[in-house]
Symmetry: C5
Subunit: 95 residues, 5 copies
Protein backbone atom coordinates (compact mmCIF):
# COMPACT_ATOMS: atom_id res chain seq x y z
CA UNK A 1 0.00 0.00 0.00
CA UNK A 2 1.03 3.59 -0.47
CA UNK A 3 0.05 6.87 1.12
CA UNK A 4 -2.15 9.22 -0.87
CA UNK A 5 -4.01 12.48 -0.42
CA UNK A 6 -7.57 12.80 -1.68
CA UNK A 7 -7.50 15.91 -3.86
CA UNK A 8 -10.67 15.63 -5.91
CA UNK A 9 -13.52 13.60 -7.31
CA UNK A 10 -13.93 12.10 -10.77
CA UNK A 11 -17.31 12.09 -12.50
CA UNK A 12 -18.00 9.57 -15.25
CA UNK A 13 -21.57 8.91 -16.33
CA UNK A 14 -20.77 6.61 -19.28
CA UNK A 15 -19.03 3.60 -17.78
CA UNK A 16 -18.96 -0.14 -17.36
CA UNK A 17 -22.19 -1.16 -15.55
CA UNK A 18 -20.17 -2.73 -12.72
CA UNK A 19 -18.92 0.73 -11.76
CA UNK A 20 -22.38 2.09 -10.94
CA UNK A 21 -22.50 3.55 -7.45
CA UNK A 22 -18.73 3.54 -6.87
CA UNK A 23 -17.22 6.82 -5.75
CA UNK A 24 -14.02 7.52 -7.67
CA UNK A 25 -11.51 9.73 -5.91
CA UNK A 26 -8.52 11.47 -7.38
CA UNK A 27 -5.58 10.63 -5.11
CA UNK A 28 -2.20 12.34 -5.23
CA UNK A 29 0.76 10.16 -4.27
CA UNK A 30 2.32 11.03 -0.90
CA UNK A 31 5.91 10.16 0.01
CA UNK A 32 7.06 8.67 3.31
CA UNK A 33 7.64 12.19 4.70
CA UNK A 34 4.03 13.13 4.01
CA UNK A 35 4.62 15.32 0.95
CA UNK A 36 2.20 15.04 -1.96
CA UNK A 37 3.75 14.67 -5.42
CA UNK A 38 2.72 14.96 -9.06
CA UNK A 39 1.86 11.29 -9.50
CA UNK A 40 -1.75 10.28 -8.99
CA UNK A 41 -4.19 7.42 -9.14
CA UNK A 42 -7.97 7.31 -9.47
CA UNK A 43 -9.24 4.96 -6.77
CA UNK A 44 -12.56 3.56 -5.62
CA UNK A 45 -13.30 4.60 -2.06
CA UNK A 46 -14.30 1.88 0.43
CA UNK A 47 -13.97 4.05 3.55
CA UNK A 48 -15.65 7.38 2.82
CA UNK A 49 -12.52 9.48 2.74
CA UNK A 50 -13.00 13.25 2.53
CA UNK A 51 -11.27 15.90 0.50
CA UNK A 52 -7.74 16.50 1.79
CA UNK A 53 -7.50 13.36 3.88
CA UNK A 54 -4.39 11.20 3.89
CA UNK A 55 -5.27 7.63 3.00
CA UNK A 56 -3.80 4.25 2.20
CA UNK A 57 -4.60 2.74 -1.16
CA UNK A 58 -3.99 -0.73 -2.59
CA UNK A 59 -3.55 -1.53 -6.27
CA UNK A 60 -3.87 -4.47 -8.62
CA UNK A 61 -6.03 -7.50 -7.83
CA UNK A 62 -5.84 -6.59 -4.14
CA UNK A 63 -7.98 -3.57 -4.96
CA UNK A 64 -10.86 -5.95 -5.65
CA UNK A 65 -10.83 -7.53 -2.17
CA UNK A 66 -13.35 -5.12 -0.63
CA UNK A 67 -17.12 -5.59 -0.64
CA UNK A 68 -17.65 -2.63 -2.96
CA UNK A 69 -14.96 -3.54 -5.51
CA UNK A 70 -15.35 -7.32 -5.71
CA UNK A 71 -15.22 -8.59 -9.34
CA UNK A 72 -15.19 -5.04 -10.71
CA UNK A 73 -12.81 -3.49 -13.26
CA UNK A 74 -11.12 -1.42 -10.57
CA UNK A 75 -7.36 -1.52 -9.99
CA UNK A 76 -7.02 0.88 -7.04
CA UNK A 77 -8.97 1.22 -3.81
CA UNK A 78 -8.73 3.47 -0.77
CA UNK A 79 -8.92 1.00 2.11
CA UNK A 80 -7.92 3.11 5.12
CA UNK A 81 -7.77 6.69 6.38
CA UNK A 82 -4.43 7.28 8.04
CA UNK A 83 -4.35 8.56 11.62
CA UNK A 84 -0.60 8.81 11.97
CA UNK A 85 2.76 7.30 11.20
CA UNK A 86 6.26 7.62 12.52
CA UNK A 87 9.77 7.07 11.13
CA UNK A 88 12.57 6.11 13.51
CA UNK A 89 10.21 6.76 16.44
CA UNK A 90 9.56 10.35 15.35
CA UNK A 91 6.03 11.31 14.42
CA UNK A 92 5.85 12.24 10.72
CA UNK A 93 2.14 12.64 10.21
CA UNK A 94 -0.80 13.03 12.56
CA UNK A 95 -4.36 13.60 11.37
Amino acid sequence: MLFGKVVGTVVASQKDPKLEGLKLQLVAGVDSRGKAGQNYVVAADSVGAGQGEIVLYATGSSARQTDITNNKPVDAVIMAIVDQWDIDDKLVFKK
Copy 2:
Protein backbone atom coordinates in the same frame (compact mmCIF):
# COMPACT_ATOMS: atom_id res chain seq x y z
CA MET B 1 -7.15 3.70 -12.67
CA LEU B 2 -5.48 6.41 -14.68
CA PHE B 3 -6.67 9.08 -17.08
CA GLY B 4 -6.00 8.58 -20.76
CA LYS B 5 -6.85 10.17 -24.09
CA VAL B 6 -7.96 8.02 -26.99
CA VAL B 7 -5.62 9.01 -29.82
CA GLY B 8 -6.00 6.18 -32.31
CA THR B 9 -7.03 2.67 -33.17
CA VAL B 10 -4.88 -0.45 -33.50
CA VAL B 11 -5.59 -3.00 -36.23
CA ALA B 12 -4.36 -6.56 -35.81
CA SER B 13 -5.81 -9.30 -37.97
CA GLN B 14 -3.48 -12.11 -36.82
CA LYS B 15 -4.16 -12.55 -33.12
CA ASP B 16 -5.15 -14.87 -30.34
CA PRO B 17 -8.69 -16.15 -31.10
CA LYS B 18 -9.97 -14.73 -27.80
CA LEU B 19 -9.30 -11.22 -29.09
CA GLU B 20 -11.75 -11.49 -31.99
CA GLY B 21 -14.25 -8.64 -31.93
CA LEU B 22 -12.43 -6.53 -29.34
CA LYS B 23 -11.75 -2.92 -30.30
CA LEU B 24 -8.20 -1.97 -29.38
CA GLN B 25 -7.64 1.71 -28.74
CA LEU B 26 -4.35 3.55 -28.50
CA VAL B 27 -4.51 5.60 -25.32
CA ALA B 28 -2.05 8.35 -24.38
CA GLY B 29 -1.43 8.78 -20.68
CA VAL B 30 -2.93 11.94 -19.18
CA ASP B 31 -1.67 13.56 -15.98
CA SER B 32 -3.81 14.87 -13.14
CA ARG B 33 -3.86 18.32 -14.78
CA GLY B 34 -5.33 16.88 -17.97
CA LYS B 35 -2.18 17.01 -20.10
CA ALA B 36 -1.43 14.08 -22.40
CA GLY B 37 2.11 12.69 -22.28
CA GLN B 38 4.37 10.43 -24.31
CA ASN B 39 3.50 7.24 -22.45
CA TYR B 40 0.73 5.08 -23.88
CA VAL B 41 -1.17 1.86 -23.52
CA VAL B 42 -3.21 -0.20 -25.95
CA ALA B 43 -6.52 -0.97 -24.25
CA ALA B 44 -9.68 -2.90 -25.02
CA ASP B 45 -12.69 -0.60 -25.05
CA SER B 46 -15.74 -1.59 -23.00
CA VAL B 47 -17.55 1.74 -23.27
CA GLY B 48 -17.36 2.85 -26.91
CA ALA B 49 -14.99 5.77 -26.40
CA GLY B 50 -14.42 8.00 -29.39
CA GLN B 51 -11.27 9.55 -30.79
CA GLY B 52 -10.03 12.36 -28.55
CA GLU B 53 -12.12 11.45 -25.53
CA ILE B 54 -10.67 11.45 -22.02
CA VAL B 55 -11.19 8.08 -20.39
CA LEU B 56 -10.33 6.02 -17.36
CA TYR B 57 -8.49 2.76 -17.90
CA ALA B 58 -7.69 -0.11 -15.57
CA THR B 59 -4.73 -2.45 -15.91
CA GLY B 60 -3.66 -5.91 -14.82
CA SER B 61 -6.15 -8.61 -13.84
CA SER B 62 -8.72 -5.88 -13.16
CA ALA B 63 -8.79 -5.26 -16.91
CA ARG B 64 -10.45 -8.67 -17.30
CA GLN B 65 -13.43 -7.87 -15.07
CA THR B 66 -15.68 -6.55 -17.84
CA ASP B 67 -18.03 -8.68 -19.93
CA ILE B 68 -15.99 -8.14 -23.08
CA THR B 69 -12.57 -8.88 -21.56
CA ASN B 70 -13.38 -11.79 -19.24
CA ASN B 71 -10.73 -14.57 -19.45
CA LYS B 72 -8.97 -12.87 -22.35
CA PRO B 73 -5.26 -12.02 -22.73
CA VAL B 74 -5.93 -8.34 -22.23
CA ASP B 75 -4.13 -6.28 -19.57
CA ALA B 76 -5.75 -2.87 -20.07
CA VAL B 77 -9.36 -1.81 -20.50
CA ILE B 78 -11.15 1.50 -20.94
CA MET B 79 -13.97 1.27 -18.39
CA ALA B 80 -15.29 4.84 -18.25
CA ILE B 81 -15.50 8.06 -20.24
CA VAL B 82 -14.66 10.98 -17.98
CA ASP B 83 -17.14 13.85 -17.66
CA GLN B 84 -15.11 15.99 -15.31
CA TRP B 85 -12.78 16.14 -12.38
CA ASP B 86 -11.62 18.73 -9.92
CA ILE B 87 -8.54 19.30 -7.75
CA ASP B 88 -8.89 21.27 -4.52
CA ASP B 89 -12.45 22.18 -5.53
CA LYS B 90 -11.31 23.77 -8.79
CA LEU B 91 -12.53 22.23 -12.03
CA VAL B 92 -9.59 20.77 -13.99
CA PHE B 93 -11.37 19.00 -16.82
CA LYS B 94 -14.88 19.13 -18.20
CA LYS B 95 -15.98 17.19 -21.26
Copy 3:
Protein backbone atom coordinates in the same frame (compact mmCIF):
# COMPACT_ATOMS: atom_id res chain seq x y z
CA MET C 1 -0.93 -4.03 -23.95
CA LEU C 2 2.15 -2.45 -25.42
CA PHE C 3 3.80 -2.48 -28.81
CA GLY C 4 6.96 -4.51 -29.24
CA LYS C 5 9.34 -5.60 -31.96
CA VAL C 6 10.50 -9.21 -32.12
CA VAL C 7 14.28 -8.94 -32.25
CA GLY C 8 15.45 -12.42 -31.33
CA THR C 9 14.82 -15.81 -29.82
CA VAL C 10 15.78 -17.11 -26.38
CA VAL C 11 16.99 -20.69 -25.93
CA ALA C 12 16.71 -22.33 -22.52
CA SER C 13 17.00 -26.09 -22.23
CA GLN C 14 16.97 -26.30 -18.43
CA LYS C 15 13.61 -24.93 -17.34
CA ASP C 16 10.40 -25.49 -15.47
CA PRO C 17 8.62 -28.48 -17.09
CA LYS C 18 5.56 -26.34 -17.83
CA LEU C 19 7.63 -24.27 -20.26
CA GLU C 20 8.34 -27.21 -22.59
CA GLY C 21 7.35 -26.40 -26.14
CA LEU C 22 6.85 -22.68 -25.61
CA LYS C 23 8.69 -20.37 -28.00
CA LEU C 24 10.29 -17.52 -26.10
CA GLN C 25 10.83 -14.36 -28.09
CA LEU C 26 13.00 -11.40 -27.19
CA VAL C 27 10.82 -8.33 -27.69
CA ALA C 28 12.09 -4.75 -27.73
CA GLY C 29 9.69 -2.14 -26.44
CA VAL C 30 8.23 0.14 -29.11
CA ASP C 31 6.82 3.60 -28.38
CA SER C 32 3.59 5.03 -29.74
CA ARG C 33 5.49 6.51 -32.71
CA GLY C 34 6.79 3.08 -33.68
CA LYS C 35 10.36 3.50 -32.44
CA ALA C 36 12.04 0.57 -30.69
CA GLY C 37 13.82 1.39 -27.43
CA GLN C 38 16.31 -0.19 -25.05
CA ASN C 39 13.73 -1.80 -22.78
CA TYR C 40 12.77 -5.39 -23.50
CA VAL C 41 10.71 -8.33 -22.36
CA VAL C 42 10.97 -12.05 -23.02
CA ALA C 43 7.51 -13.23 -24.06
CA ALA C 44 5.84 -16.50 -24.97
CA ASP C 45 4.50 -16.37 -28.51
CA SER C 46 0.88 -17.38 -29.10
CA VAL C 47 0.64 -16.11 -32.66
CA GLY C 48 3.79 -17.22 -34.51
CA ALA C 49 5.37 -13.80 -34.86
CA GLY C 50 8.46 -13.59 -37.01
CA GLN C 51 11.74 -11.78 -36.55
CA GLY C 52 11.28 -8.02 -36.99
CA GLU C 53 7.51 -8.02 -36.70
CA ILE C 54 5.68 -5.42 -34.63
CA VAL C 55 3.45 -7.12 -32.10
CA LEU C 56 1.22 -6.49 -29.10
CA TYR C 57 2.13 -8.18 -25.85
CA ALA C 58 0.25 -8.48 -22.58
CA THR C 59 1.87 -8.89 -19.17
CA GLY C 60 1.00 -10.18 -15.71
CA SER C 61 -1.77 -12.69 -15.11
CA SER C 62 -3.33 -11.67 -18.44
CA ALA C 63 -0.36 -13.31 -20.13
CA ARG C 64 -1.70 -16.66 -18.95
CA GLN C 65 -5.08 -16.32 -20.68
CA THR C 66 -4.04 -18.00 -23.93
CA ASP C 67 -4.24 -21.72 -24.62
CA ILE C 68 -0.47 -22.09 -24.71
CA THR C 69 0.28 -20.13 -21.53
CA ASN C 70 -2.56 -21.28 -19.26
CA ASN C 71 -1.34 -22.05 -15.71
CA LYS C 72 2.30 -21.60 -16.70
CA PRO C 73 4.98 -19.45 -15.04
CA VAL C 74 4.90 -16.95 -17.88
CA ASP C 75 4.32 -13.23 -17.30
CA ALA C 76 4.38 -11.91 -20.88
CA VAL C 77 2.74 -13.15 -24.07
CA ILE C 78 2.64 -11.94 -27.65
CA MET C 79 -1.08 -12.07 -28.46
CA ALA C 80 -1.30 -10.16 -31.75
CA ILE C 81 0.71 -9.12 -34.78
CA VAL C 82 0.04 -5.47 -35.54
CA ASP C 83 -1.16 -4.51 -39.02
CA GLN C 84 -1.34 -0.79 -38.44
CA TRP C 85 -2.19 2.04 -36.11
CA ASP C 86 -2.88 5.70 -36.38
CA ILE C 87 -2.61 8.75 -34.11
CA ASP C 88 -4.94 11.71 -34.65
CA ASP C 89 -6.11 10.07 -37.88
CA LYS C 90 -2.60 9.94 -39.32
CA LEU C 91 -1.13 6.53 -40.08
CA VAL C 92 1.88 5.88 -37.83
CA PHE C 93 2.66 2.25 -38.65
CA LYS C 94 1.64 -0.07 -41.43
CA LYS C 95 2.98 -3.59 -41.77
Copy 4:
Protein backbone atom coordinates in the same frame (compact mmCIF):
# COMPACT_ATOMS: atom_id res chain seq x y z
CA MET D 1 10.65 -10.03 -3.45
CA LEU D 2 12.67 -7.02 -2.44
CA PHE D 3 14.68 -6.04 0.61
CA GLY D 4 13.21 -3.46 2.94
CA LYS D 5 13.92 -1.87 6.31
CA VAL D 6 11.13 -1.47 8.83
CA VAL D 7 11.27 2.22 9.76
CA GLY D 8 7.91 2.85 11.39
CA THR D 9 4.34 1.87 12.05
CA VAL D 10 1.16 3.17 10.43
CA VAL D 11 -1.98 3.73 12.48
CA ALA D 12 -5.36 3.77 10.75
CA SER D 13 -8.52 3.38 12.81
CA GLN D 14 -11.02 4.01 10.00
CA LYS D 15 -10.47 1.22 7.50
CA ASP D 16 -11.94 -1.64 5.55
CA PRO D 17 -13.21 -4.22 8.08
CA LYS D 18 -10.93 -6.90 6.60
CA LEU D 19 -7.91 -4.95 7.80
CA GLU D 20 -8.83 -5.24 11.50
CA GLY D 21 -5.96 -6.70 13.49
CA LEU D 22 -3.33 -6.38 10.77
CA LYS D 23 -0.13 -4.60 11.74
CA LEU D 24 0.88 -2.16 9.02
CA GLN D 25 4.58 -1.40 8.84
CA LEU D 26 6.29 1.42 6.98
CA VAL D 27 9.10 -0.19 5.00
CA ALA D 28 11.88 1.72 3.27
CA GLY D 29 13.24 0.12 0.11
CA VAL D 30 16.74 -1.33 0.45
CA ASP D 31 19.07 -1.89 -2.50
CA SER D 32 21.16 -4.99 -3.12
CA ARG D 33 24.08 -3.41 -1.23
CA GLY D 34 21.92 -2.99 1.87
CA LYS D 35 21.36 0.77 1.59
CA ALA D 36 17.90 2.15 2.38
CA GLY D 37 16.45 4.61 -0.14
CA GLN D 38 13.64 7.16 -0.37
CA ASN D 39 11.09 4.76 -1.84
CA TYR D 40 8.76 3.02 0.57
CA VAL D 41 5.83 0.67 0.88
CA VAL D 42 3.29 0.10 3.64
CA ALA D 43 3.13 -3.65 4.22
CA ALA D 44 1.19 -6.05 6.40
CA ASP D 45 3.52 -7.97 8.69
CA SER D 46 3.22 -11.76 8.80
CA VAL D 47 6.43 -12.39 10.74
CA GLY D 48 6.56 -9.90 13.61
CA ALA D 49 9.41 -7.79 12.29
CA GLY D 50 10.79 -5.15 14.64
CA GLN D 51 11.77 -1.55 14.08
CA GLY D 52 15.03 -1.36 12.08
CA GLU D 53 15.00 -4.94 10.88
CA ILE D 54 15.85 -5.85 7.30
CA VAL D 55 13.06 -7.85 5.76
CA LEU D 56 11.79 -9.35 2.53
CA TYR D 57 8.43 -8.20 1.24
CA ALA D 58 6.25 -9.48 -1.57
CA THR D 59 3.77 -7.38 -3.55
CA GLY D 60 0.66 -7.85 -5.66
CA SER D 61 -1.58 -10.90 -5.38
CA SER D 62 1.34 -12.81 -3.82
CA ALA D 63 0.96 -10.56 -0.79
CA ARG D 64 -2.36 -12.28 -0.08
CA GLN D 65 -0.87 -15.78 0.18
CA THR D 66 -0.24 -15.68 3.92
CA ASP D 67 -2.73 -16.72 6.59
CA ILE D 68 -3.12 -13.17 7.85
CA THR D 69 -3.58 -11.49 4.44
CA ASN D 70 -5.75 -14.04 2.63
CA ASN D 71 -8.59 -12.36 0.67
CA LYS D 72 -7.77 -8.95 2.12
CA PRO D 73 -7.21 -5.65 0.29
CA VAL D 74 -3.50 -5.77 0.98
CA ASP D 75 -0.89 -5.51 -1.79
CA ALA D 76 2.34 -5.85 0.20
CA VAL D 77 3.40 -8.24 2.94
CA ILE D 78 6.56 -8.76 4.96
CA MET D 79 7.10 -12.50 4.70
CA ALA D 80 10.64 -12.96 6.05
CA ILE D 81 13.23 -11.36 8.28
CA VAL D 82 16.60 -11.46 6.54
CA ASP D 83 19.54 -13.06 8.34
CA GLN D 84 22.13 -12.41 5.67
CA TRP D 85 22.95 -12.26 2.00
CA ASP D 86 26.04 -12.29 -0.13
CA ILE D 87 27.01 -11.04 -3.57
CA ASP D 88 29.76 -12.82 -5.49
CA ASP D 89 30.52 -14.86 -2.36
CA LYS D 90 31.16 -11.75 -0.26
CA LEU D 91 28.89 -11.12 2.69
CA VAL D 92 26.87 -7.93 2.13
CA PHE D 93 24.49 -8.01 5.07
CA LYS D 94 24.40 -9.96 8.32
CA LYS D 95 21.77 -9.39 10.99
Copy 5:
Protein backbone atom coordinates in the same frame (compact mmCIF):
# COMPACT_ATOMS: atom_id res chain seq x y z
CA MET E 1 10.07 -12.52 -18.25
CA LEU E 2 13.37 -10.75 -17.86
CA PHE E 3 16.98 -11.83 -17.89
CA GLY E 4 18.82 -11.95 -14.59
CA LYS E 5 22.17 -13.06 -13.19
CA VAL E 6 22.29 -15.07 -10.00
CA VAL E 7 24.71 -13.14 -7.79
CA GLY E 8 24.04 -14.49 -4.33
CA THR E 9 21.84 -16.31 -1.87
CA VAL E 10 19.52 -14.88 0.76
CA VAL E 11 19.23 -16.53 4.18
CA ALA E 12 16.09 -15.94 6.25
CA SER E 13 15.32 -18.27 9.14
CA GLN E 14 12.33 -16.35 10.51
CA LYS E 15 9.71 -16.43 7.77
CA ASP E 16 6.21 -17.32 6.72
CA PRO E 17 5.84 -21.11 7.12
CA LYS E 18 4.98 -21.51 3.44
CA LEU E 19 8.51 -20.40 2.54
CA GLU E 20 10.16 -23.35 4.29
CA GLY E 21 12.47 -25.20 1.92
CA LEU E 22 12.46 -22.58 -0.81
CA LYS E 23 15.87 -21.41 -2.02
CA LEU E 24 15.91 -17.63 -2.37
CA GLN E 25 18.39 -16.28 -4.88
CA LEU E 26 19.57 -12.71 -5.27
CA VAL E 27 19.22 -11.91 -8.96
CA ALA E 28 20.72 -8.84 -10.65
CA GLY E 29 18.75 -7.49 -13.60
CA VAL E 30 20.39 -8.06 -16.99
CA ASP E 31 19.64 -5.94 -20.04
CA SER E 32 19.01 -7.25 -23.55
CA ARG E 33 22.73 -6.92 -24.34
CA GLY E 34 23.64 -9.21 -21.43
CA LYS E 35 24.90 -6.52 -19.05
CA ALA E 36 23.98 -6.79 -15.37
CA GLY E 37 22.67 -3.61 -13.72
CA GLN E 38 22.04 -2.22 -10.25
CA ASN E 39 18.42 -3.33 -10.05
CA TYR E 40 17.72 -6.67 -8.40
CA VAL E 41 15.04 -9.06 -7.30
CA VAL E 42 14.99 -11.87 -4.75
CA ALA E 43 13.48 -14.89 -6.47
CA ALA E 44 12.56 -18.45 -5.55
CA ASP E 45 14.52 -20.92 -7.65
CA SER E 46 12.59 -23.68 -9.44
CA VAL E 47 15.45 -24.85 -11.64
CA GLY E 48 18.56 -25.10 -9.46
CA ALA E 49 20.44 -22.18 -10.96
CA GLY E 50 24.03 -21.73 -9.84
CA GLN E 51 25.98 -18.66 -8.84
CA GLY E 52 26.76 -16.51 -11.89
CA GLU E 53 24.27 -18.16 -14.20
CA ILE E 54 22.06 -16.13 -16.52
CA VAL E 55 18.43 -16.97 -15.94
CA LEU E 56 14.89 -15.99 -16.81
CA TYR E 57 12.60 -14.95 -14.01
CA ALA E 58 8.87 -14.28 -13.92
CA THR E 59 7.11 -11.93 -11.51
CA GLY E 60 3.67 -11.38 -10.05
CA SER E 61 1.05 -14.11 -9.89
CA SER E 62 2.88 -15.96 -12.66
CA ALA E 63 5.67 -16.59 -10.17
CA ARG E 64 3.29 -18.91 -8.30
CA GLN E 65 2.68 -21.22 -11.26
CA THR E 66 5.51 -23.64 -10.48
CA ASP E 67 5.21 -26.70 -8.24
CA ILE E 68 7.48 -25.18 -5.61
CA THR E 69 5.84 -21.75 -5.46
CA ASN E 70 2.15 -22.67 -5.74
CA ASN E 71 -0.02 -20.67 -3.27
CA LYS E 72 3.04 -19.18 -1.59
CA PRO E 73 3.78 -15.51 -0.82
CA VAL E 74 6.41 -15.36 -3.55
CA ASP E 75 6.32 -12.75 -6.32
CA ALA E 76 9.38 -13.76 -8.36
CA VAL E 77 10.63 -17.13 -9.59
CA ILE E 78 13.58 -18.30 -11.65
CA MET E 79 11.94 -20.59 -14.19
CA ALA E 80 14.73 -21.17 -16.75
CA ILE E 81 18.48 -21.13 -17.16
CA VAL E 82 19.35 -19.33 -20.38
CA ASP E 83 21.52 -21.13 -22.94
CA GLN E 84 21.68 -18.33 -25.47
CA TRP E 85 19.89 -15.51 -27.22
CA ASP E 86 20.40 -13.46 -30.32
CA ILE E 87 19.39 -10.00 -31.52
CA ASP E 88 18.95 -9.35 -35.24
CA ASP E 89 20.44 -12.80 -35.92
CA LYS E 90 23.65 -11.99 -34.05
CA LEU E 91 24.47 -14.06 -30.98
CA VAL E 92 24.40 -11.86 -27.88
CA PHE E 93 24.82 -14.42 -25.12
CA LYS E 94 25.92 -18.04 -25.04
CA LYS E 95 26.31 -20.01 -21.84
